[in-house]
Subunit: 570 residues, 2 copies
C-alpha cells in the first residue's frame, strides 16, 4: 500500500511508545479504526501468537478530505501477519462494519468470514461486485464456534439492521464481550430482543473486558421502540392525498417493513427507488426478513403511471447525497418521478452530522416544488439504532465487567461512555480509553495500555487505494480554496535567457479575464534579473518566479492560489 509510510511492524512497536512483547497467556487488543471516530470499525485481538478480527468497515470522508471516496482502516500492523489471522467476525451488515472487507480479502482471500445469515448475504453481494468469492462461516445467536485459540459465542442484539450479533471471545486470558452496535428496544419489530439474559449469564461467569458501543453515550435516556414509528407513518401517509415518497437507509429492513405495512393499509402500491434499496430489500425478502404482501410491489415505470393516491415510493437519498434519487427529485431531474404540489415526502432517517446542508438543500428543493416534507425535526419518523445512556447502564449492570473499553465513537462519546461505566461501579483505573492504534493488554485480569502502533487514514479514490495521502489532500485543499496560477517559460539552457514571453494562466482564480494581465511583465522583469545574475538552473528560475508571483498576488488580491511555474530548457 503506497502513500502510508510503513514504520511499524505487526502489533509491534510504533514511534514514541513501542509496546513490549505480549506477556505469556495475555490477550492484546488494538483498534485499527473506529475509536476516536465514527466509522471504519476494526478491532484486532491477539492471543498465543494468533489473531482474530472483529469487523472491517469503512469511514466516509469529511470536508478536509476532498475527492476521497472511502477511508479504510490501516491494515499495516497486520500485513506481515496475515497468515496468523484465524477469522474475521462481522457483527452486522452496515458499511462501517463490512465495507472494507473486500480490501482485506485482496490480501488474504481465504480468510474465514464469520457472521449471521443477513450479514453474510449483504457481504456476498458486495464481494460479487469485487469479483470475490469469500469463505463464509454462518453463525446465529446461541451458537459457538472455535477459531484457533479463540472460542466464540454469539448473542442476539437489536440494532437498525436485522440479524446483528454481539460476540463473546474466550481465551486463556479471560472472557471478552464485544457488543458491536447495539440498543435495547424492548418491543422489537421482529421480536428478537438484545440478549440481556445471556449477557447476565456471562456477567455471572465474570467478564474480564467489555467493549461497548459509545455512539449515543452522550444522549440521556432511552430510545423509543421502532414499532412506535408505525402509527406516526400511518398518520402521515393516511392523510396524504397525492404521491408519497419515503426515504430511509437502504439496510433498515424494519423501517421499510413498517412503511410497506402502512402503504398496504391505505391501498397504495410500492416501488423501490435506488440501486442499494432494490438490492438490499431483495436480499431481505429472500431470507424472509421482509414480508411482502402479494401484489404490493410494482416496478418503477408502472408505479409512475398509477393514480397519485395509490402509490408510494421507498427511496434512497435520505442523507442528501447529490446523485441519489431523492436529490434528483428535489432538483426536478428524476426521470420517472416529478414532484407536484401536494406530494408528501418523508425522511424516515437520522441526520448524520456534516450532512445538514446537503439534506436541507434537498428539503428546500422539495418544498419549493410544493411538497409537504416530514422529517425527524417535525415528526417522530426516526429512532436511533444505538443505546443512549439509560440503556448503556442496563448493559453495564448486566455484564458487571472488571475492565471496560469504550469503542465506536469520537472522544466526546468515549469519555461519556467511560463515565457511565464508572457510575455503575467499574473502577476508574479499569476503564481504558484507547483510540486507534493504542495497544491494550489484558494480563492477569487487568487491562492496561502498553503502547501504540502507528495507524493512519488510508484513502480510496477511484480505483486505487493509498496513493492519495496527506500531501495530495493538502494540495487539493489549497487548490480548492484559491485555484492556481501557472506560469510557463522557455529558456535557453546555456544562458537562462527567455526565448519567448511567459505564458500565464489561472484556473479557479478569477472570472475576470484581465485579472492576471500584470503577471507577464512581472515575470519578464524577474527573468531579466535571473539572467543578469547568470542563473541557468531551471529549479532556481522556477523558485524565483514562484516567489515574485506569490508576493504580487498576496499584495494585490490578498489570496493564496497555488503558484505553478514550469521552466522549459530549449
Amino acid at each position: 500500500m503506497n502513500g502510508v509510510q510503513r514504520e511499524s511492524p505487526a502489533l509491534g512497536p510504533g514511534p514514541g511508545a513501542a509496546p513490549p512483547p505480549l506477556a505469556d497467556g495475555g490477550l492484546r487488543v488494538v483498534a485499527l479504526g473506529g475509536i476516536g471516530e465514527v466509522g471504519r470499525n476494526m478491532t484486532v485481538f491477539e492471543h498465543a501468537g494468533r489473531l482474530l478480527i472483529v469487523d472491517c468497515g469503512v469511514l466516509f470522508p469529511e470536508d478536509n478530505q476532498p475527492g476521497v471516496d472511502l477511508i479504510l482502516p490501516d491494515f499495516r500492523p497486520i500485513e506481515d501477519r496475515l497468515d496468523d489471522i484465524e477469522a474475521l467476525v462481522l457483527t452486522h451488515g452496515h458499511e462501517d462494519h463490512i465495507g472494507a472487507v473486500p480490501f482485506l480479502l485482496k490480501q488474504r482471500p481465504d480468510l474465514p468470514v464469520v457472521g449471521s445469515k443477513f450479514t453474510l448475504a449483504l457481504l456476498a453481494a458486495k464481494c460479487r461486485e469485487h469479483r470475490q468469492n469469500p469463505v463464509l462461516v454462518e453463525v446465529a445467536e446461541g451458537q459457538r464456534s472455535t477459531h484457533g485459540p479463540f472460542e466464540l459465542e454469539f448473542f442476539a442484539v437489536n440494532h437498525s439492521i436485522p440479524d446483528a450479533l454481539a460476540v463473546a471471545i474466550r481465551t486463556a486470558a479471560g472472557l471478552v464481550l464485544h457488543t458491536g452496535d447495539i440498543k435495547l428496544d424492548q418491543l422489537p419489530l421482529d421480536g428478537r430482543l438484545t440478549d440481556l439474559a445471556g449477557f447476565s449469564r456471562l456477567g455471572d461467569e465474570g467478564v474480564d473486558l467489555f467493549l461497548v458501543d459509545s455512539t449515543n453515550a452522550e444522549v440521556p435516556g432511552f430510545v423509543m421502540p421502532e414499532r412506535d414509528i408505525g402509527p406516526v407513518l400511518d398518520g402521515v401517509i393516511g392523510k396524504a392525498t397525492h404521491r408519497v415518497i419515503v426515504a430511509c437507509f437502504a439496510s433498515h429492513v424494519h423501517r421499510v417493513q413498517q412503511v410497506l405495512d402502512v402503504a398496504a393499509a391505505h391501498g397504495r402500491r410500492v416501488a423501490f427507488v435506488g440501486r442499494s434499496m432494490v438490492r438490499n430489500m431483495g436480499v431481505a425478502a429472500d431470507l424472509g426478513l421482509l414480508r411482502l404482501p402479494e401484489g404490493l410491489l410494482v416496478d418503477l415505470d408502472l408505479a409512475s403511471t398509477l393514480p397519485e393516491d395509490q402509490v408510494l415510493f421507498v427511496s434512497t437519498g435520505s442523507q442528501g447525497e447529490p446523485l441519489s434519487a431523492l436529490s434528483r427529485m428535489a432538483r426536478g431531474e428524476h426521470r420517472q418521478i416529478r414532484i407536484h404540489p401536494g406530494d408528501t415526502v418523508v425522511l424516515a432517517s437520522s441526520l448524520i452530522p456534516g450532512n445538514e446542508n446537503a439534506v436541507f438543500n434537498v428539503v428546500n428543493g422539495l418544498v419549493r416544488l410544493g411538497a409537504n416534507v416530514v422529517h425527524q425535526g417535525n415528526a417522530k419518523v426516526h429512532v436511533s439504532g444505538h443505546a443512549p445512556a439509560g440503556e448503556l447502564l442496563f448493559l453495564y449492570n448486566a455484564v458487571r465487567p472488571s475492565n471496560v473499553m469504550p469503542v465506536h465513537g469520537e472522544w466526546r462519546h468515549l469519555r461519556a461512555n467511560a463515565e457511565l461505566a464508572v457510575r455503575t461501579g467499574v473502577r476508574r483505573d479499569r476503564v481504558v480509553i484507547a483510540e486507534d492504534g493504542v495497544v491494550v493488554d489484558l494480563v492477569d485480569g487487568i487491562a492496561r495500555i502498553s503502547g501504540r502502533v502507528e495507524v493512519g487514514h488510508v484513502y480510496v479514490d477511484g480505483l486505487s487505494v493509498g496513493d492519495v495521502g496527506e500531501s495530495t489532500l493538502s494540495d487539493r485543499l489549497i487548490l480548492g480554496e484559491g485555484g492556481f496560477i501557472a506560469i510557463t517559460v522557455a529558456v535557453e539552457a546555456t544562458t537562462g535567457r527567455a526565448v519567448a514571453p511567459p505564458t500565464v494562466s489561472g484556473r479557479g482564480f478569477s472570472d475576470d479575464p484581465k485579472a492576471l494581465d500584470d503577471v507577464v511583465a512581472l515575470v519578464e522583469m524577474e527573468l531579466s534579473r535571473t539572467e543578469a545574475e547568470g542563473i541557468t538552473d531551471t529549479h532556481r528560475i522556477a523558485q524565483a518566479v514562484r516567489r515574485v508571483v506569490g508576493r504580487w498576488v498576496a499584495d494585490t488580491y490578498r489570496r493564496r492560489p497555488m503558484i505553478v511555474p514550469t521552466v522549459l530548457p530549449v
Copy 2:
C-alpha cells in the same frame, strides 16, 4: 462590479418575467437577499419614485463556495438609482443585517443610515475598519422619522442582541410592518419587551403588508426566557474546580452579562478572549448595556496567571472557526490558555447548520485534553433568538395583516411561516412567498407578485468583490476534488514538432511519484500523430493532449482531475 453579469436595470425587468411599471400610488418590495436563504438580508421598498432599504447584511459561504469569504446581496437592481435612495434602515447589529453596509456605502457614501444606538455603534466600528465615516441617524423605539415619502415608526423588539427594532413604513400605498429578527421573550434580561401592544395598535389601524422573520417557523412552541439560562450556568460554573471557558457569540451581550454575573458570584475574575468579543463588549459597556462590576475584568495575560478556580474566560469560537481562540485551545496551540484535565468549557451558543463537524472537532479536541465540555446538547445553555411557531401566532394575531410576506429563511422556513399566517386567518392568496429578486407590488391594499429582477450571489474573496463567480467556483470544486495534471510541450511553430519531451506534473493528484510516469510516452505518441496530420495550431494540439490524458486517467484511476495542457510555440 465584475463577475456578475448586468442584465437588469433598477427594479426593472429581469429575464423571463419582467415586472410592469409600478402602478401610481403603489409600493414595490424586492428582496436583494435574505429570502430563500439565511443571511445577507436586504429589502428594497419603492414608492413615488423613491427607495428605502431595510438592512444590508452578509451571508457566509457553504461547501460549494470554496475560498469565498463573504457573500453580499446583489446591488445591481439599485445601482442605477443610488441617488433615489432616501435611507438605509438597520433593524439590529448582527452581521447578516449590517455586514454589507460598507460595500453599499462605497457606492453611495452619503447615504443616511438609520438605526438604534447599539446598532449604529457596531456599524461605526465596522466602518472605521473600512476607513468610512457614514452619516448616522440614531432612532429609538417609539420614535418616528421621515425620509422622502417614507414615514417610519420604530418598535422595540427582543432578539439575541440588544437594541433591536422593528420598523413600520407608512406611505400613500398603505402601512407596512417589518419585524426584523424577533422573538417574544416575556421576561427579557433588560426588561425591554417586544412591543406587542404597539403592534396591536398598528393592527387596529390596519397593516397592509407584514414582513415576518421565518427562521424558526418550523419549530413548535416557545423559546425559554434568556434569563433561565442563568441558573444553568450557575450550576455548571459553581461546581467547577478548575478553569472555566465560556464561548458564545461576540454580540450576545445578555448572554455574556449572565456569565459575568455568575463569575462574580463565584469569585472568578473574567478575561475576554478574541478580537470581536473584546471590541463588542467594550462598545456595550460604554453604552451602559453591559454592567461590569468594579475589578471583575482582568487582562488576558494576568488572567492566565490567576489560580484555576478564580478565573473565567469569555471567548469567541463557538462555531468551531479554525482560527478562533477556542479552536487553538482545542489543538493545544493557544499562547496564553492551555487546557488541563478538570477544566470546564461551556459552548453557550447555537450550532449553525453546516458547522457541526467543525464544532465537534473542537469538542473532541477539548475532551481529549481532559476538559469537561458543556453544550446545548447536554445542558440548557442556549436559547434561540428567533420566534418559533407559538410566538409567531401571537404576532399574527396582534397585527392582523391583510397581506403577509415571510422573510429571513430558506424555503422550508418560508412555507412553514406562510402556513402559520393562514391558520390565524390571513387569506391564502394574500400570503406571498417571494424569494430574492421577486417583485411584490402592494396596490389598492393587495400584494401580488408582478415579476422578477435578476439577482445573483456576489462573492468577496480577499480584497476584491465580484471577480470570483460561478465559473471560478466550478473550477475550484474540480481542483479541490481531483487536483490537476499539467502537461507542457514546446513545439516548432511551423511544423508542430515537439522540440523536447513533454513536462508532466500533477498537484493534488497522487502521493505516488510514479503515478504519472506513463503520461510522457502517451503525450509523445499523440504529438507524433498531430504532427503527422500537419496540425500546427497550438489550441488544437492542446485539445488533443487534454483528450488523450483525460481518457487515460479516467481508465487508469477512475478520477477526474483538471487536465491543463500548455503548448508553447518556439
